[in-house]
Point group: C2
């Protein structure tokens, strides 16, 4: 069977997008298409250039006999800005206001395109880190954790408030909620996380940081360490327990009486993220 | 700025994969690349042929002034078979056995590549249906629901066992668990589902079918209807409450004493799924 270059690059584009952060040997592609490695290298050069120009990501070439190519999801700064501005605009819609000053964001968490974009932005921020797993708390953090995981190609582990029979033996800890100061429990299945893992902690919303702190305590029980902390929305909070985190959106103020929500971009752009270069027009 | 064909088809491949089940006008691509629509049409013909040959999906062309092209995730039968055989082999590992005959499958639900493949298979099965939303029960069904949603480009709504302050007003129902005959509650945020929606119900595991039946009762409260029912694993069960569903894997028997799990493929291949044609070698 003979493949034209256009067929090869469509198939390779798909394959690389489906296998991020994974070394793909040139031999795999060469055999897949019955092509010389030199042709595959040329194809990959075109894909790399286009991926970077179009804000899709980048390819890293690993030389040598055991070498190959790795795809990393990355974004360019302007498209990240545009997305976050749009997210802020959506979140400050006063219809989201719930009694007690809470915000309804289940629709955003349930929207696959938005979640994929959130995942891509946060995965870009951690593209250079060694991450073995992503941890979140059931249930609202799960879509964000999976969205990031699909770009970083690492497993998701889910912490619960109570243990379930389908989880097997669990490790449980108590923690103090940062904002309400109540003591709560957190449970993780023993077999869900390997000892010594480097873990990215993820949640949809962070106020006092108690939930994130609970996850950190839980990591200690697994001799695991924090590789990073990423949240979709952080709320303005005086003495937060957590400092080193990335947020996409910051909730400045919620005025229930006036039905006004004030939202600004989070600290994403103050982090030293290696953005793709803008396309020159 | 000038684009070569290879650049155009890489970018269009990415764009289409990111926008499944959505009409994309040729004008969008023509303007994006400063190309004639006739060139774009040629590019799309190459992409369609390659997508079908390589088991990626298909493109449907909608003619006319308001026309364009739609991408649908689809699979070929052999790759679906291979995936399900591998899933069965993974699930029948006796190390998954938990006290009470339960199976540990959190690792599969946390694995982004497996979830994406599960989502692709189940989305393929419902590619021709009108689906407005996907509904699941927190927390284990969420990764599967999102995996399907990302291929069908529809929102996910999450039913909970108890209501949370961040969900606003909720609708609650009681239902009888199919296998344990206990009465349980199910809660859905009122604003999460539009009246009259056609909904795909999704869960990780189905035994008696009580949870699915609970979701059906909940749909009635929203004047919504069932567009389909999809589960990852069904367990052998005598008088199930649910008949018309799709499962990838069927749990025939769990023998705790012998530490033996018997797993076979689910009813996926007995459904009339429109598979992509095999690649001819």
């Amino acid at each position: 069977m003979k493949f034209r270059r256009s067929e090869r690059i469509i198939d390779m584009t798909y394959y690389l997008l489906e296998h991020p952060h994974q070394l793909v040997s040139l031999t795999l592609f060469a055999e897949r298409f019955g092509s010389a490695k030199s042709s595959i290298s040329e194809d990959l050069a075109i894909i790399k250039e286009t991926f970077e120009k179009r804000g899709i990501g980048t390819l890293q070439t690993v030389p040598g006999a055991a070498g190959g190519v790795k795809f990393y999801s990355r974004v360019n700064e302007q498209s990240a800005k545009d997305f976050i501005v749009d997210l802020c605009r959506q979140i400050e819609n006063p219809e989201r206001l719930l009694p007690g000053g809470y915000l309804y964001i289940m629709d955003l968490l349930g929207h696959p395109r938005i979640m994929n974009h959130v995942g891509k932005l946060l995965a870009s921020a951690y593209a250079g880190e060694k991450i073995d797993a992503i941890m979140t708390v059931a249930a609202k953090g799960i879509p964000i954790a999976h969205a990031i995981a699909s770009h970083l190609n690492v497993p998701v582990v889910v912490v619960r408030r109570d243990s379930k029979v389908t989880e097997g033996p669990t490790v449980s800890i108590n923690y103090v909620s940062g904002s309400t100061k109540r003591i709560q429990a957190m449970v993780l299945s023993k077999r869900s996380l390997k000892e010594g893992s480097r873990v990215l902690l993820v949640d949809d919303f962070m106020k006092g940081g108690g939930t994130i702190n609970g996850m950190i305590s839980l990591l200690a029980e697994f001799n695991a360490s924090v590789a990073g902390i990423a949240v979709l929305v952080e709320a303005e909070y005086p003495e937060r327990l957590i400092n080193d985190y990335i947020s996409l959106v910051k909730l400045k103020d919620v005025n229930e009486k006036e039905a006004a929500i004030s939202v600004v971009e989070g600290n994403y752009f103050s982090k030293n993220i290696d953005f793709l270069q803008e396309e020159t027009k």
